[in-house]
Symmetry: C2
Subunit: 140 residues, 2 copies
C-alpha cells in the first residue's frame, strides 16, 4: 500500500526518500491525526538527523499531491492524517483517540437550496467536520 503512495510521489517528481517513507508508514500505522511536532518526536527515534522543517515540508507536499489532509482544531495548529479519497466527503474525528474516518455523505444540494432561499446567496463550497466517539472508544 505504501507502494501506491510512492507511485504518486513519482508522478509528482517527488523522490522516494527514507524520511518520506517513514512518514507514510507512521501515518498509515495509526489512522489518527498528528501534528508536525508529534511526528517529529517519533521520527527522531528513527533518524539521528532530522529537522522539524523537513517534517513540515513533507506534510505540505503530501497535502498538495492529495495523499494527506489536514483538520481544523480550535488551538489553531496544523494536524495531518492520511486521506487520499478524492471524492467529496467529510471527516469524523474521535475526540478520545483522535482517529479520523471518512464519512461518505454530503448533503450539499440541500444546503445550497437553503442558503438560496434564506439568504438569496450562492453557496459554492462548504466544510463539515464531525466529532464524537469512535466505535472502539464509545465501548471502552
Amino acid at each position: 500500500m505504501i507502494d501506491k503512495f510512492i507511485e504518486i510521489l513519482r508522478e509528482h517528481n517527488l523522490k522516494k526518500t527514507p524520511k518520506r517513507i517513514a512518514i507514510l508508514q507512521l501515518l498509515e500505522s495509526q489512522s489518527t491525526y498528528i501534528s508536525p511536532l508529534e511526528l517529529w518526536d517519533i521520527l527522531k527515534q528513527q533518524f539521528t538527523r532530522i529537522g522539524l522543517p523537513t517534517v513540515y515540508r513533507i506534510l505540505q507536499q503530501f497535502q498538495e499531491i492529495g495523499i494527506v489532509a489536514s483538520i481544523q482544531k480550535e488551538d489553531n495548529q496544523l494536524y495531518y492524517f492520511l486521506c487520499s479519497t478524492q471524492q467529496d466527503h467529510h471527516h469524523f474525528i474521535c475526540r478520545k483517540c483522535h482517529k479520523v474516518s471518512c464519512v461518505e455523505y454530503c448533503d450539499f444540494d440541500t444546503i445550497k437550496q437553503l442558503v438560496e432561499n434564506q439568504l438569496q446567496s450562492k453557496a459554492e463550497t462548504h466544510f463539515l467536520q464531525i466529532e464524537g466517539l469512535c466505535k472502539e472508544c464509545r465501548d471502552s
Copy 2:
C-alpha cells in the same frame, strides 16, 4: 442595540470602556469578519494609545460571553464577527465581501444517524461552514 451588549458586559463583570464600545460599534457597522490586526488598524485612527494585545483580549472576552464568534480560515488566523445567536446554527461567509450570515439549519440528526450506521460511532458535535457569494456580491 449597543446597549444590549453593554448589559451583557455588566452581567459578566466587564466594564463599559471606550475601547470595548468602539469595537462593538465597528463590528456592528459592518457584518463582516475581521482580524484583530485589521481591527487594530481602524481603532488606531480613533485612539492615540491602543495596544494590539488589548484588541486580542477584548475579542476573546467577547467570544467567551457569547457576543462574537470566530471562523476558521485556511490561513490559520483568528477572525471574529458579531454573533449572539445562542441557538444551534451555522454560518455562511461571502468569499468576496467577507460578510457573515447565520444559516438557520442544522441536520445534525441525519448526520448522527449516518455516522452511527457507517462507522458505528457516536457523533457528538459538528462544525459546518458554508462559503459562496452573498446576495449583493453575486449580482455585481
